[in-house]
């Protein structure tokens, strides 16, 4: 099995945790610790960026974000926490997990529903993202 620069396998195991850094406090219902679908919705480029977080503590997750989840000027984005979901939940929702190591451990969630009607496309994507979010756990940052 081939290895990536980070040392992780090029194939994502179903039991691997995937961490989605959350830049909006509105993506979690804090009083209930419930992750909302927005945490997994794809960006306008049709990908959702995640990090393979097997073996990482919360502190290591935040340190990883400080180093690699940065803007064009190299400044870390402000994150409120991370939504962590098992890779199998993503696959069962019909979404592919594509390792993409620019940053170490980085992967893209790809293959979101497409439709010529953009609102209908969005409603389909929301349904998929809701399914994934329902299985995710919230890790709040401080």
């Amino acid at each position: 099995m081939s290895q990536l620069p980070s040392g992780l396998s090029a194939e994502v195991d179903g039991g691997e945790p995937l961490a989605r850094y959350c830049t909006s406090s509105s993506w979690v219902a804090k009083s209930k610790g419930r992750v909302k679908y927005q945490a997994f919705m794809p960006a306008p480029d049709d990908d959702t960026s995640v990090y393979r977080s097997e073996g990482m503590s919360d502190g290591e997750l935040w340190a990883h974000a400080d180093r690699y989840f940065v803007n064009a000027e190299g400044e870390p984005y402000r994150i409120h926490g991370a939504a962590v979901v098992e890779a199998s939940c993503v696959s069962e929702a019909g979404i592919q997990i594509i390792p993409d190591e620019g940053p170490p451990r980085h992967a893209n969630l790809r293959g979101w529903p497409l439709d010529a009607d953009l609102e209908l496309q969005k409603s389909k994507r929301k349904a998929v993202a809701k399914r994934i979010a329902s299985e995710a756990k919230w890790h709040g940052k401080g």
Partner: protein, 177 residues
């Protein structure tokens, strides 16, 4: 030096007085920040349209103030660390209209901003596996989706600015039981 409009001040006044609070904000608004100007301008347009009565705002004051605070926090593009656009004034107004149009029997929604198009999502939940949401974007058409256990559904509903679509009310009822 003109006093900037404080979103916290706006929210506090909103609890007290409904449409009157919006006029107060409009009159006092000489905000020096982009965020303050954004809120003040939206308040001005809502008062001018006279769509929101004092009683409606009074009943939804808490979620309305949360709505404006949320929009202010997402007023700059790229807030998600990627390519998310900023929340627009039109989306903010439309979301306020939908909230105001909700029947009094419907609990206040939770609010969030969608990273793909900066739509404002209104969501109702009864645990992580019973959730329904509607996304208010730039057009009258709203993307809706729900999950109830293993049952997942989605639709597009049209909001005319006054009447909540039946599909939305049905989705809320389905998850809240």
């Amino acid at each position: 030096m003109p006093e900037p409009v404080s979103i916290i001040t706006f929210a506090g006044v909103a609890v007290l007085g409904g449409a009157g609070c919006l006029r107060e904000t409009q009159a006092r608004s000489s905000g020096v920040s982009d965020q303050a100007g954004f809120v003040a301008e939206t308040a001005r347009s809502l008062v001018a349209r006279n769509d929101l009565t004092a009683s409606i705002i009074g009943n939804r004051a808490e979620v309305m103030s949360e709505l404006y605070e949320l929009a202010g926090e997402h007023a700059q593009p790229g807030w998600d660390g990627a390519e998310a656009p900023a929340v627009s004034e039109a989306v903010l107004e439309r979301a306020a209209e939908l909230i105001a149009a909700l029947p009094s029997s419907v609990p206040n929604p939770e609010l969030a901003v969608d990273p793909d198009d900066a739509a404002i999502a209104l969501e109702w939940s009864n645990g992580p596996h019973r959730v329904f949401s509607v996304s208010v974007g730039e057009s009258q058409r709203m993307a809706c989706a729900g999950i109830d256990g293993t049952d997942v559904w989605h639709n597009v509903s049209r909001f005319d600015g006054a009447t909540v679509p039946p599909f939305v009310l049905h989705g809320i009822q389905k998850v809240l039981g």
